[in-house]
């Protein structure tokens, strides 16, 4: 058994996580000025951006710097009459934004503003005959959407409204001989898709259907010499895979198979220590997406001073407990 105290001391020696800088960075992104190209491209990612930014703040213990009433008000306005949520006011709903909206409301302890049946009916309507889920009414199918649907319904206590057996069987049909999962049956194993499939199986209590040793080995083979993790064989390491790979390893109880110290070091090396934020690889430009995944990864690695995050729901553990244990 590895001694965690030793790990904590090592982490502190490795150089600190620039918490205040990252908080400042997240807040600055949320107030970005007009004329920013990034903001134009990100227009449709606003709801996801809110989730990444706010979860990061919560993990760093700084969620109280935002006005939760105002955010809740905005989220309500992003809801479509179908029950789904859009990325921003006046846009079309998509399952991606619906989960982010529910997650942010969960973070802010505002799930009570939701008409739960309306939201869950929207998701239920996206399940297909074969058990898979579409992302919106246009029918793109992907195991990402299976995860999103199951996660969302579970947070709303409405898992009983779908055909769970079919949903689970569809995910299993995307399992490959290497133990991993792809986006559709036959699709290459990819750490992001593995997170979605394992997360969905965890949420539905079906983890016994995963070959944990085989998948665990594939996942720990993702760690490269620099300590970082890649998402597929022979690809470059990237901070976001700290989340996809680590959370999957934790869910199947195999996280001790990678070298945690080396991974912590890799993530800390991707920080912009002057202006805040975390990038995909050392010395690249930072963004909110990788800042969130870096901090969430450190949370899974039990980095001191970062709140614990739940690997399946991608929300702080205290938030998940509040929802399922009523505390």
């Amino acid at each position: 058994m590895y001694c965690d105290c030793k790990l904590i001391i090592l982490m502190l020696q490795m150089g600190e996580l620039a918490v205040d800088k990252h908080v400042k960075y997240i807040l600055s992104v949320q107030k970005k000025r007009k004329d920013s190209f990034e903001a134009v491209v990100m227009e449709h990612l606003t709801m996801n951006g809110a989730y990444w930014g706010l979860t990061t703040l919560d993990l760093l213990g700084k969620l109280d710097v935002v006005d939760s009433e105002e955010i809740t008000e905005w989220i309500i306005q992003c809801q479509h009459e179908s029950g789904g949520f859009a990325g921003n006011i006046g846009h079309d709903p998509h399952i991606l934004y619906t989960l982010s909206a529910v997650q942010v409301l969960a973070l802010l302890d505002k799930l009570n503003v939701l008409d739960v049946d309306k939201v869950s009916n929207y998701i239920v309507g996206l399940q297909n005959e074969d058990g898979s889920f579409s992302g919106d009414m246009w029918g793109e199918v992907d195991t990402r959407f299976s995860y999103i649907a199951l996660c969302c319904l579970s947070l709303l206590h409405r898992l009983d409204k779908i055909n769970m057996e079919k949903a689970v069987n569809y995910i299993l049909s995307c399992k490959n001989v290497d133990g991993g999962f792809g986006c559709i049956p036959g699709g290459e194993s990819h750490a992001g898709q593995i997170f979605c499939c394992v997360g969905a199986l965890a949420i539905t209590g079906s983890l016994h259907l995963v070959d944990k040793d085989l998948l665990g080995w594939w996942l720990c083979e993702r760690q490269v010499k620099s300590g970082g993790l890649n998402g597929r064989p022979e690809k470059l390491p990237d901070v976001c895979y700290s989340w996809w790979v680590l959370s999957s390893l934790i869910m199947i109880d195999r996280v001790h198979w990678i070298n945690k110290e080396k991974l912590v070091k890799f993530i800390l090396n991707c920080q912009d220590k002057d202006n805040g934020g975390i990038s995909d690889r050392p010395d690249d430009a930072v963004d909110v997406f990788h800042t969130y995944f870096g901090v969430a990864g450190l949370s899974l690695l039990e980095y001191p001073g970062v709140k614990a995050i739940d690997p399946a729901y991608a929300l702080p553990v205290d938030v998940v407990n509040r929802i399922f244990l009523g505390r």
């Binding site: 949320q30 107030k31 970005k32 000025r33 007009k34 004329d35 920013s36 190209f37 903001a39 134009v40 491209v41 227009e43 449709h44 990612l45 606003t46 951006g49 809110a50 006005d67 105002e70 955010i71 008000e73 905005w74 306005q77 921003n88 006011i89 006046g90 846009h91 079309d92 998509h94 919106d136 246009w138 793109e140 490959n176 001989v177 290497d178 792809g182 986006c183 559709i184 036959g186 699709g187 290459e188 194993s189 990819h190 665990g216 080995w217 594939w218 720990c220 083979e221 760690q223 010499k225 597929r232 064989p233 022979e234 690809k235 195999r254 001790h256 198979w257 990678i258 070298n259 080396k262």
Partner: protein
């Protein structure tokens, strides 16, 4: 510039100054009274979006609406609403969908990892049916020639094969890609997809012999390559008797072990074989013994244990995994 489609917004008059748009009242974005996440817009972006909102809300499915969706797509190809609306307009106008495929190809040049574009392409191809097959295989081939691991392109290609056909050359295509880069895991995955799913090849079992030969060659050329080792295992899916009894599997392990370089995957496969019931002879014991780096280690009498000990040593980043394997060996191994 091969068509009017390719006009960029900054190259044309603002919509507000064009007579053909004078009857449309643009609708600005409603960010709510106190926008939490105020969005930054460039002026031309804002104007185009305002016109688009107007057309979208009035549900005008006209040629100028099609042109407008193009302008919005140029500004943000990730906007899924505009792609949805474009499909409605294409349907209403009964547009030439072959041309639409060419259009998507031009937009995809700069956005090969955009979900919306691939979804749109699939919608068009689905409508065209088998007529689109050759073009789709050609299109994905082109994208993969630039990025041989593009996940979207592979998904699309797998869909084309299953829905529209075109399996004839696929195994050769995988062979070509692996010749270019034998470390390309996507190509190995596609190869497995073909031999297990092609209606022309007779399935995994009838392909096994030739595939094992191919894979063993690839392994011997680059024993550090994770993909063919996993592929080899996949060739025996659901048939562990053949897996442990086929001499080609154990002998490729032995060859790599005896070379004494890049032998981690060979050891790992030998370990799997032993756990599955493979009976190793003295040659294997000698090969593993020769890899022990320190004589100070107590010699494991059990071969599987000895394999784990070597792996703990030569693959330190995953030492906990190999220790786990060591402590969970089946009694017989």
């Amino acid at each position: 510039m091969d068509s009017d489609d390719d006009l960029r917004p900054e190259e044309m008059l603002p919509l507000s100054q064009r007579p053909e748009w004078s009857d449309v009242v643009p609708i600005p974005q409603d960010d709510g009274p106190n926008p939490v996440v105020p969005i930054a817009y460039k002026p031309e972006f804002e104007e185009t979006m305002n016109y688009f909102r107007a057309i979208y809300l009035s549900d005008e499915r006209s040629p100028r609406a099609l042109q407008l969706t193009h302008l919005v797509i140029l500004l943000n190809p990730g906007n899924y609403t505009v792609w949805h609306f474009r499909r409605l307009v294409l349907e209403a106008l009964n547009a030439d969908l072959d041309e639409e495929l060419d259009y998507v190809a031009r937009i995809a040049k700069k956005n090969t990892k955009n979900y919306q574009i691939w979804h749109h392409r699939r919608w068009v191809a689905e409508k065209l049916g088998t007529n689109a097959m050759a073009k789709e295989l050609q299109f994905t081939r082109k994208i993969l020639s630039l990025d041989a691991k593009n996940y979207h392109a592979w998904s699309h290609r797998q869909w084309v094969l299953q829905a529209l056909g075109g399996w004839e050359d696929e195994l050769d295509y995988c062979g070509q890609l692996l010749q270019d880069d034998v470390f390309n895991n996507s190509a190995w995955n596609q190869r497995y997809f073909v031999i297990t799913r092609s209606p022309l090849l007779g399935g995994l079992k009838s392909m096994r012999e030739s595939e094992v030969k191919y894979t063993v060659e690839a392994i011997l050329a680059n024993p550090e390559n994770e993909s063919p080792w996993r592929y080899l295992r996949g060739l025996y899916k659901g048939d562990s008797q053949s897996w442990i009894n086929d001499l080609q599997v154990s002998s490729v392990c032995l060859k790599v072990l005896n070379s004494k370089t890049n032998y981690i995957f060979a050891l790992s496969v030998l370990l799997d074989l032993l756990c599955d019931g493979f009976q190793a002879n003295q040659e294997f014991i000698d090969a593993v013994t020769a890899l022990r780096t320190s004589n100070a280690d107590p010699l494991d009498t059990d071969l599987a244990k000895a394999v784990c000990s070597v792996l703990e040593h030569v693959d330190p980043i995953r030492v906990n995994y190999w220790t786990y394997r060591k402590s969970n060996l089946p009694v017989s191994a």
